[in-house]
Subunit: 466 residues, 2 copies
């Protein structure tokens, strides 16, 4: 097998033994498999050849790109780990059409840089953007901090190129905003976590870069107040809120402890801290007024002042320059690192309607009290999306306790009409939740599709589907 793979990609691009370590172990260190080999094809044709060989030999294939996933989606024991890293060409940027045509191995931050030159943005934004690649973002339908305004990865994609399990290349590289020629296969492969085929390239949407941002850290009395703030800002700005991120007091405290060189957001600590960012897309929002103030910033300040007078905002700091803005974002984006440093730990990535975030947290407090009196929780949330990364730090390492807590989180989420999986995907770690929570008819349809498209069961086997 290794010889035949080497014939396709060259010997240098078939790794085995210790060379596989950086691929076989996920970055959380939670899942470490023993792949048959890591193969690094150079282009779509080589991906196709690898898939043909895998089909012929019924060998499992697991696609991997930036290896920044959080759910064990690229774990394999005995399968070929198919790295897309060498498919890293930005094929085309067409500023007038506002599209970029890119390969799956393009690092998200590299695409950010490339389109910035044209005064454009690719608005997929999350902490791991310096390593995460387009292929993985598409395969997991990644979210992040700008979903509120621009949507998740699915909403940012017009077209796809996919290598099917048989090795056949499917060309869905539409550049159109309207295309009703048959079933929506694009959206089926996006978010399928490599279980139906290998995404090799995509047509992505670009957006005008906001001419200015208005960014602030705001403390409010409670989560209901945070929603009032969000709604008032959306109404006042006509939907210009790009990010609305929640950090509870204990997260801010932990961040401060591990980054003592930084200043805390407020003189007095608060329980409910919100990072707000508005983006100005029209000249009238950035042309300074008679006082030299940027209208969008003035609008943000006005809403904050009004709400402060009503006691609905406790404290607020508006970033005065790029350095202050960057500091606010660094605090938020350290979440993965700060939370992951805590063990033992039970993670989640849940989504509820915006007005159900407070009930979720209150109900969980009560349950935790009952399940593990001295457990603590730590969470950050894309509050504007209702997406909470709720982690529990239990008093002891116990798989049974961990299971009970996870099931309780699911119970509460289901009771509130939410989802156990918002933006990280299902992979390995949320398969039990799929089995317990997903609509049975939907699970049946998913299985029918999987069997139809991958009859040999070689595409990322054992993931997503329980």
């Amino acid at each position: 097998m290794l010889t035949r793979l080497a014939k396709i990609t060259g010997t240098a691009n078939v790794l085995h033994g210790d060379d596989m370590q950086g691929y076989a172990r996920d970055w959380m260190g939670k899942y470490t498999g023993q792949p048959l080999a890591v193969v690094r094809p150079a282009d779509t044709n080589q991906v196709s050849d690898v898939m043909q060989l895998a089909s012929e030999t019924k060998t499992p294939v697991v696609p991997i790109s930036g290896n920044t996933g959080l759910v064990g989606g690229t774990y394999t024991d005995g399968g070929i780990l198919l790295s897309l890293e060498r498919l890293n060409t930005i094929r085309e940027i067409r500023p007038e059409a506002r599209i970029a045509i890119v390969e799956a191995g393009v690092i998200i931050a590299n695409l950010h840089d490339a389109v910035d030159e044209h005064g454009l943005i690719f608005p997929l934004l999350f902490g791991a953007r310096g390593s995460a690649m387009i292929g993985g973002a598409l395969s997991t339908n990644a979210g992040g901090s700008n979903v509120l305004r621009y949507g998740n990865t699915r909403a940012l994609c017009l077209g796809l190129e996919v290598v099917l399990p048989s090795g056949e290349v499917m060309n869905l590289m539409s550049e159109l905003h309207k295309d009703n020629a048959g079933y929506d296969l694009r959206d089926l492969f996006i978010g399928a976590e490599g279980t139906l085929g290998v995404i090799t390239a995509a047509v992505l949407k670009l957006f005008p870069k906001p001419a200015a941002y208005a960014t602030a850290m705001v403390a409010v009395p409670n989560l209901a107040g945070a929603l009032t703030l969000l709604n008032r800002l959306q109404m006042a700005s006509g939907g210009a809120v790009e990010a609305f991120e929640y950090m509870p007091g204990n997260y801010v405290e932990m961040y401060q402890a591990s980054h003592p060189e930084t200043r805390p957001p407020f003189d007095t600590p608060h329980d409910v801290n919100i990072l707000i960012e508005l983006g100005a897309t029209a000249p009238r929002d950035v042309t300074p007024d008679e006082n030299g103030e940027i209208p969008l910033t003035a609008l943000l300040e006005q809403v904050l002042v009004d709400m402060m007078e009503q006691g609905l905002v406790l404290d607020a700091v508006v970033a005065q320059n790029d350095t202050q803005r960057a500091g606010m974002w660094t605090r938020r984006e350290a979440a993965a690192e700060v939370v992951l440093s805590q063990t033992p730990r039970i993670d989640s990535d849940i989504c509820v309607a915006l007005d159900k975030v407070a009930p979720f947290l209150e109900q969980m407090d009560a349950h935790l009290q009952r399940l593990d009196k001295s457990a603590r929780n730590i969470c950050v949330a894309h509050l504007g999306d209702g997406n909470i990364h709720y982690s529990v730090l239990p008093s002891s390492e116990s798989p049974e306790l961990a299971d009970r807590i996870t099931e309780t989180i699911e119970d509460v989420v289901q009771g509130l009409g939410g989802s156990f999986s918002a933006e990280h995907g299902v992979g390995l770690s949320k398969k039990p939740s799929m089995a317990r929570r997903k609509d049975k008819a939907a699970l049946g349809v998913m299985r029918q599709i999987k069997t139809a498209l991958d009859p040999l069961g070689i595409m990322n086997p054992g993931k997503v589907l329980p």
Copy 2:
């Protein structure tokens, strides 16, 4: 069979003989079938019972809602025509969450009226909205005049309820903006034209009603100039353009001829006429300035004045009140009626990138000259989406000529990277185009999915898939 159907829905809701006429004939009068019966279930359970009976007896089932489709998608000879018209309840409108939960038989205009009371809009807008129903709009992923700002029907839907061919009910009624729990089945069933299952209910997104509109008819020298106008308006307004509709001179003339009581848009006729609408979503856009002018209208006027001075706009009329605005829209929305009154006629619903609209029209002019010297064309376009309803009026009724012209349209579209189907769907009438133009691998995947989900082939057989 009729007796067993009547047991499910009651005798009054199983129609046969002449009572089926309004259902069996499409509204263009192009397709008339002979259904086994028209059955009108009252709710999802009855739909499920009908599908179970159909599965058991291997009887084809064709879903129908408003019967305003343009591609023969509800034609059946010998199948059960399953009308969703009695599933017409708006189950819930939740203004804070900005969602509506509706059944498939709700007429689009009725939903418009219901959400208007809450200061909200459901921004799916097309001429047939007084008859067309949500189920059909979802099944065809309908487009319309507001796609530019709000997206097509797919982009307006959060959750679905679907009755599968077996009769099993699949609950995907998510109210969430982020939900990555498994394959994206929602988007697969949206746009599947009833070939995979029956959509019975949906969770739909609502949006704040613009506090004001700025609407204008504008004449520009050519289509390139129209694109410049669109880009300048988008930049100046920060993306507030809701509609950007193209009407060529000959369409305006035909409309005028059939509606002599109306005033022409301009004193002098022009070739390239654009209906523009901007929507104001922020207070700063609608608060009158010191001259009493609405800022959004002032912004539109300023762009038009600047472009007129540069010779890029030839004439422009900004609507001064709701009556004038309505008149502009009535002219645009008469397109179906005006075009359909012409026979013989070859229709299309194509999409190309915005900068390819002019090349498409130019290339088609040259081809028509060759194929049928005295043929004329008439088209209107959702120009902001690159979606052109290009109809040819050939000199004679000849199926061979019609085929040649259709294939030529497809050739030109394919050469420009476009799609032969933008917003009307495939149904019966575009199956030959699917066979000729769709990526072969994608067709294969579509067939695999169809066979897996509908193994008996009873769901709207003979549609979409060639």
